[in-house]
């Protein structure tokens, strides 16, 4: 004991000193304000949507049942009701990120927060999402039920009743003041560690899906075009786009990759291959309407594909081919020559070198290029208009020779209509299109990161 006494207060190591985070007080105050504001705003948002909005947005509140020529139509909520969301949402989403550093410094001081509880808190958005889904379907049944028992219009749903019974303000405060801060802190905690970051993915996707779902009416995705804006949907356009993209990829990817392999691995470096190379670059810059005219003549008229999915897909394949070839060439060039030499040195033939080494190592890059090319094709309108894709398709294409439409053409058609209702659903259509593009480009980036080989 006595021997230990002199060193009792002095450990061999310096006491742990928490490095001061270089935050000025001003910044901290601003960040705290931002967090508080965003929390309140998000809380208000959720409550608004869940309580008020559920009533308004989800079929029963503002839904007006109309009788048109003996047909019962349900007039869905219009975007005007949701204008306030347009600015509240981005602000509410951005502010927590601005304050993230402070959140991180805060959570560093709260080791007592059990990991499990935090995990639970982050999955809250999932729970909310599921619940809203449930409420939505239930209210849909409710309206049917109300009609069945002869009650005109539904005056509310279970969620609303619950809110009224338990005190609206109270719920709002609980949500804004307790759950959301926890969620944000938890999100920051998860974000602070590279290893934990992936666990944010599910809640993030759920939240995003939830937000999309709030804006988007599933009927919009599952109905055919209509002369009534309230009934018009993107269903045939989405399936047409998918159909066309699958065929486009099936045509363009093998051809483009094959061309790239030929140019990179087989072709001699002479004037001929240089000419091809230059022309591929040129083709990438040709206006898309030119491809449309080419497709009109070659596929629609000469090959007699008519105005079919096949004709559209072939035209699109031509359009994106240069992009695919160039990106595939880039991918092939990233495979170091030493890899080829190594394979040759054990007695591989040229094709074996390509098949077992060059292609597998370059495949991720090729796929990335392909996805980017596809996302270009999805947004192209001009060539399809040139080959005469229809704008009003009230059925699904059964075979590649059927008529078809795609999302941008549908949107184009809605924009050109005089009724304002069509303009609104055109905006919705554009959002859907953009989301699809965003997802595809994100997939391309993720794929590029995952398939990268550090030589």
């Amino acid at each position: 004991m006595s021997a230990a006494t002199p060193t009792a207060g002095i450990t061999p190591y310096a006491p742990r000193i928490r490095a001061r985070r270089g935050l000025s007080v001003g910044f901290m105050v601003i960040a705290l304000l931002a967090i508080t504001a965003s929390m309140l705003m998000l809380g208000a948002l959720i409550v608004e949507i869940a309580v008020d909005g559920a009533a308004r947005l989800f079929t029963d509140g503002s839904a007006t049942v109309q009788e048109v020529r003996g047909e019962t139509l349900i007039d869905l909520p219009t975007p005007e009701n949701m204008n306030w969301l347009a600015w509240a949402m981005p602000v509410a989403i951005l502010l927590p990120f601005l304050g993230l550093r402070v959140v991180r410094s805060l959570i560093a001081d709260i080791p007592a927060l059990a990991e499990r509880a935090i995990g639970f808190a982050t999955t809250l958005p999932v729970a909310v999402f599921v619940h809203i889904l449930y409420v939505r379907f239930e209210s849909a049944y409710y309206i049917e039920y109300a009609k069945a028992i002869g009650v005109d219009g539904a005056s509310g749903n279970i969620f609303q009743l619950f809110a009224e019974a338990s005190g609206f303000q109270f719920v709002r405060l609980i949500v804004a003041g307790l759950i959301l801060p926890l969620g944000i802190i938890a999100a920051g905690w998860f974000w602070s560690n590279r290893l934990r970051r992936p666990s944010l993915l599910l809640p993030a996707i759920a939240t995003a899906a939830w937000v999309v779902y709030l804006f988007l009416d599933p009927f919009f995705l599952s109905s055919y075009p209509s002369r009534l804006p309230a009934q018009a949907g993107l269903f045939s356009a989405i399936t047409g786009t998918l159909y066309m993209m699958v065929i486009t990829a099936a045509v363009a990817f093998p051809l483009g990759v094959g061309a790239a392999i030929y140019l990179e691995e087989y072709a001699r470096r002479n004037w001929f291959s240089r000419m091809i190379q230059v022309n591929i670059s040129n083709l990438a810059g040709v206006p898309s309407i030119i491809y449309g005219l080419l497709g009109l003549q070659v596929f629609v008229r000469v090959l007699e594909f008519e105005r079919s999915v096949l004709a559209g897909a072939c035209t699109m394949a031509l359009l994106v081919m240069p992009i695919i070839i160039v990106s595939a060439q880039e991918a092939l060039r990233t495979v170091p020559p030493s890899m080829r030499e190594a394979a040759y040195a054990v007695g591989a033939t040229r094709w074996q070198v390509i098949r077992f080494h060059v292609l597998p190592y370059a495949f991720g890059g090729m796929l990335t290029g392909n996805i980017l090319a596809m996302s270009r094709a999805i947004g192209e309108t001009a060539p399809l208009i040139a080959i005469g894709a229809l704008t009003f398709i009230a059925f699904l294409a059964d075979s590649p020779t059927d008529d078809f439409t795609v999302m941008p053409i549908q949107v184009f058609n809605w924009v050109t209509r005089p009724q304002s209702g069509f303009h609104e659903i055109a905006a919705s259509g554009i959002i859907v299109l953009m989301l699809v593009l965003l997802v595809m480009n994100a997939a391309a980036i993720v794929m590029r990161q995952r398939t990268r080989t550090d030589w």
């Binding site: 001699r268 470096r269 170091p336 030493s338 890899m339 080829r340 030499e341 190594a342 394979a343 040759y344 040195a345 054990v346 007695g347 591989a348 033939t349 074996q352 077992f356 080494h357 190592y361 080989t453 550090d454 030589w455």
Partner: protein, 317 residues
């Protein structure tokens, strides 16, 4: 390093008469003896292979078979001539070192042996490289078959970004090996002195190994296709001394079964591992020529050509 080693050995140890030749050319001497040949060269130490080529060859004291016989081999990259009319044997089951300063065509010559230069646009070879009665350079000879029977290990370790197992098995698989693959992989890794280090993690990527291990993996990969000759292009130049030592030991062991040709910049390494040495040198016009070929012992202790001695003693290069 090489410079110090040889200079010290030769000039500061007067009691040790390394060779009569070195006594006649003290390191301080400014005026060079007659170009290329030393005065006593004609006194029976060595003979010219071809006086016009100015290359000399020591008498062999041992009986060895010839794995490769080069006759007037020249190599070109487009209009640039890299090596000029080299004639020499590569003895079977021996380690032959190709030494010489940078740009003298060592690597080019090595890559001629397994037709690796075919892959470079504009490269061509003239002359004859006899391998089992056939001329390797003949366009009718299948380069793929040549490369299977004459393996190669490169300067920078280049394992495939696949598992260790796949790295070794690949060559055998594409060449239609029908035996027990597991056994072949184990055998090859054992012979490359790598088995004990990787036997529990054969599924790990070859790129996850250390540099020295990667190079031994590359050697295992070359062995797995059961070649007759293994070419090594500065196999240890990217490795640390310990890993280098392992590779050198490995070369000595492998020489019992294989013919090994190694290009090296490291003179001590050439002295340690090789049985025979060829000294190559590029002249003013940057065309590589063979200067001297013979048993390593003789080349290092008793070089015939003045330029060889200058290079070995570190006077240039």
């Amino acid at each position: 390093m090489a410079r110090n080693f040889f200079t010290v050995m030769r000039s500061s140890a007067p009691t040790r008469t390394a060779s009569p030749a070195s006594n006649q050319t003290p390191s301080g001497q400014v005026t060079a003896p007659p170009p290329n040949m030393k005065q006593d060269a004609a006194a029976g130490v060595g003979v010219h292979l071809d006086p016009n080529l100015e290359a000399v060859r020591h008498d062999f004291t041992e009986e060895v078979e010839t794995a490769l016989q080069l006759r007037n081999v020249s190599a070109f990259y487009g209009s640039f001539q890299a090596i000029d009319k080299m004639t020499m044997p590569i003895p079977r089951n021996r380690v032959t070192a190709l030494i010489g300063p940078s740009g003298c065509g060592k690597s080019t010559l090595l890559r001629c042996f397994n037709r690796m230069n075919d892959l470079i646009p504009g490269a061509r070879i003239e002359g004859e490289i006899e391998f089992e009665g056939r001329n390797l350079i003949d366009p009718n000879v299948d380069a793929v078959e040549v490369r299977r029977r004459i393996g190669m290990v490169f300067q920078k370790p280049n394992p495939f970004p696949k598992s260790i197992y796949e790295n070794v098995a690949f060559g055998a698989r594409i060449n239609g090996y029908s035996g027990d693959m597991d056994r072949l992989v184990e055998d090859s890794l054992r012979r490359a002195a790598l088995w004990d280090e990787v036997k529990d993690e054969l599924d790990k990527s070859g790129l996850a190994l250390s540099g020295g291990q990667q190079q031994r993996l590359c050697i295992a990969r070359a062995i797995a296709v059961q070649p007759e000759i293994i070419l090594m292009d500065e196999p240890a130049s990217a490795l640390d001394p310990v890993a280098t030592l392992k590779i050198e030991d490995l070369m000595r062991e492998l020489a019992e079964e294989y013919t090994i040709v190694v290009v090296t910049h490291n003179m001590q390494q050439a002295g340690r591992v090789s049985d025979y040495t060829a000294f190559l040198l590029a002249g003013e016009e940057r065309v590589g020529r063979l200067v001297e070929f013979g048993p390593t012992q003789d080349i290092f202790t008793n070089p015939i050509d003045q330029r060889t001695e200058d290079y070995i003693t570190g006077r240039y290069g």
